[in-house]
């Protein structure tokens, strides 16, 4: 572990998360006929969802992002950082029509936010899908006003798949994104919104999106205009990071993570984890060191139950642990 010191600091105390995912049949892609079926669905998604994919512009902050309309009355999902510092935004449709939008709430830890179109109307909207069950290999379609609204083109369509789950409510795909796409929609093959574009890393496979299920969990607060959380490029420092509540020992030569302390009132304490237990697996995946434990927990969310594999006195034990948010366990400074 090159960064063992840092990881230890993070791990001592905060620990972390997991889930059981329903398996769903994924569209095959092994023959030309499969590909044609896939293509037809992507074409359909592009056509159907285009009118609901809007650009959001703020005079005050000079920011230009995207959003997606999810109700006939004009409720818009977007990214928290797109509406940061704005109370009104200009909502621009792909055909250039523009209307005023009122900024509602935002949770910066999840990078999710809401806007409502002020004028009543019958807006074309996209349905909301589900994101918690998405996993590596699921096909997705991205739209967004890349590099800002451009009158001479419609928001570009991109196709790809989920590459990695997490951290927390986020997911990573290979649908390439760029500035201006932020807040724009990621769709499943039925054209339902499954996530909102948030950030990118250098790799073309590192495009990050906030899952739509994260909106559901915070729905009322967002509608009510609450603004909370903090934007964080480090998943382990995110207040929404799920923890189990142990201090990790750093003994080399052990396959697993030795429990140095158990935080009072933590998920680990409730599940019966004890000092000097060695955590060897999460949901059946072997854990070799503290870094791997953090990595796997970061892919889960608070509220989920994980199966922790533990060695105690050379006897393997399984225990169920219900994960909590870091900020439920540790008050923020």
């Amino acid at each position: 572990m090159r960064h063992s010191k840092t990881l230890h600091l993070l791990a001592a105390g905060f620990l972390l998360a997991a889930s059981f995912l329903p398996t769903q049949a994924r569209e095959a892609a092994s023959t030309i006929a499969d590909l044609k079926a896939l293509e037809a669905r992507v074409q359909n998604v592009a056509e159907k969802t285009m009118p609901a994919t809007v650009a959001l512009l703020s005079d005050r902050t000079g920011s230009s992002g995207s959003g997606v309309i999810v109700s006939e009355q004009g409720l818009i999902l977007t990214a928290a950082h797109v509406i940061q510092g704005a109370d009104k935004v200009l909502v621009v449709f792909p055909n250039g029509k523009q209307v005023q939008g009122e900024v509602l709430g935002a949770n910066f830890s999840k990078d999710i936010g809401m806007v409502r179109i002020i004028d009543e109307g019958n807006y074309t909207f996209a349905e909301m899908g589900e994101s918690d069950h998405l996993k590596a290999g699921d096909w997705v379609v991205a739209l967004g006003h890349s590099a800002g609204f451009k009158a001479e083109r419609t928001p570009p369509v991109r196709f790809g798949r989920v590459i990695s789950e997490g951290p927390g409510n986020f997911l990573t795909t290979d649908c390439t994104l760029i500035g201006g796409d932020s807040g724009g929609p990621l769709f499943d093959l039925d054209g339902r919104v499954v996530a909102i574009h948030s950030s990118i890393g250098k790799s073309l496979e590192n495009n990050n999106h906030a899952g739509v299920d994260g909106f559901r969990k915070d729905w009322q607060r967002l509608i009510d205009g609450d603004v909370w959380g903090e934007l964080s490029m480090n998943p382990f420092a995110n207040p929404e990071m799920p923890v189990i509540g142990i201090g990790m020992g750093m003994i080399r030569g052990i396959n697993g993570v030795i429990v140095e302390s158990v935080v009072l009132g933590s998920p680990a304490a409730a599940a019966g984890v004890r000092q000097h237990d060695i955590i060897t697996s999460v949901n059946g995946s072997p854990i070799r060191d503290g870094g791997e434990l953090l990595q796997i927990l970061a892919k889960h969310q608070a509220g989920e139950t994980i199966q922790l594999g533990v060695m105690r006195n050379r006897t393997p034990i399984e225990m169920a642990v219900v994960l909590k948010r870091r900020n439920e366990l540790f008050s923020q400074p």
Binding site: H3, T31, I32, A151, F159, I178
Partner: protein, 400 residues
Amino acid sequence: MKILTTSIVAVALLATAAFAQDDIPLLRPEERQAVDNQADQFNGALENSLSEAAKSTVRIWSGNRRLAYGTVVGDGSQIITKWSELVGAPRRIRVEAFDGQVRDVDPSGVFQDEDIVVLDLIGPPLTPVKWSDKSPKLGSFVTAPQPSGQPASFGVVSVLERSLRDSDHAFIGIVGAVGFDGSGVKIHEVTPKSGAAAAGLKPGDIILKVNNRPISGLLELKNSLVDVKPGDTVNLIVKSSNGESSVPVTLGNRPELPNYLGDRLRTMEGMGTDQSRVRDSFTNVIQSDMRPNPDQIGGPVVNLDGEVIGITMARATRTRSFIMPSAAVQNMLNSEPMDPALAAIPTEPSDQRIRIRPAVSPPRQFRPGSQQRLRRHLSEMQQLMDFMTQEMEALENGRW
């Protein structure tokens, strides 16, 4: 100050994690395996659509350096490829066909606007491409084959055919007033000698409709003119101090404006991407999310039926590649090319940075000495610095 401290810690962690192994901090080996297997399967299926077009796809070499792909056209005795990738090639240009035969060529003409050069094959013809005039729909699957018949790059149609040149778009010649809350566009300034000036529009006038379409603001005004050609006349409903009136305006060409991207956007455009030298000033393009390398530009692009719908024209940015549609290629080939000796050296007007692309050398010449290691190390440090700067900026601005 608190925010800045936090962000430095966060940036350092993210960046080191990214460069220690993969760029995706939470990618699990089983996820990597799942998406890699899926990609293999997908590419295997795609190959069925590539066999015909691959026979008309060639690789262009200069000595040991791969420059581009090319497309065999006409009766099979000519090849078209990307002009800017061949300019200044250090050694004689040769082409390699799908069956491995290597042939000499002579550049015979240049289409400067499209950044295309025509190469005459010396010796017997190769298999010419069969153009399809089908226009792909939004979201259609498009693939560029390698000469070997495997996919070089795959993507979907992101944006339907359009011109990237400002001067191909109609220009009305007004500047809208910022902060005007009513419906329509309030004129702040009229550009001298423009259509708006000739029609007598004045600052303070409000444009309410374009050809009976009500206009909600400046962006909708721009949008309403997208399908109008320079030289066409549109009918405006304008509210001025004298009340509402109908004003015909004949539109001109939009002036070419220098394209100043913000530094952050420019950085993002190049992230994880080796961009073509000439990439953003074409007249007929389909935009796709394909990811060809610059040395894979110039070959045919097919749909799932294997029909050639165009050629790859440029790798523009992280999110964009351009395809020249078959009909546009054929129109171009019916016009008269320029003598290569007279053609200007192609450059991208908006590109203000000098980029050095490392040449691909054959394995036998590749002996990593200390010099090479140092160079690689420096370039990695530069990448790391760029990456950290980007992350810092993203955090400071809180948006992108």
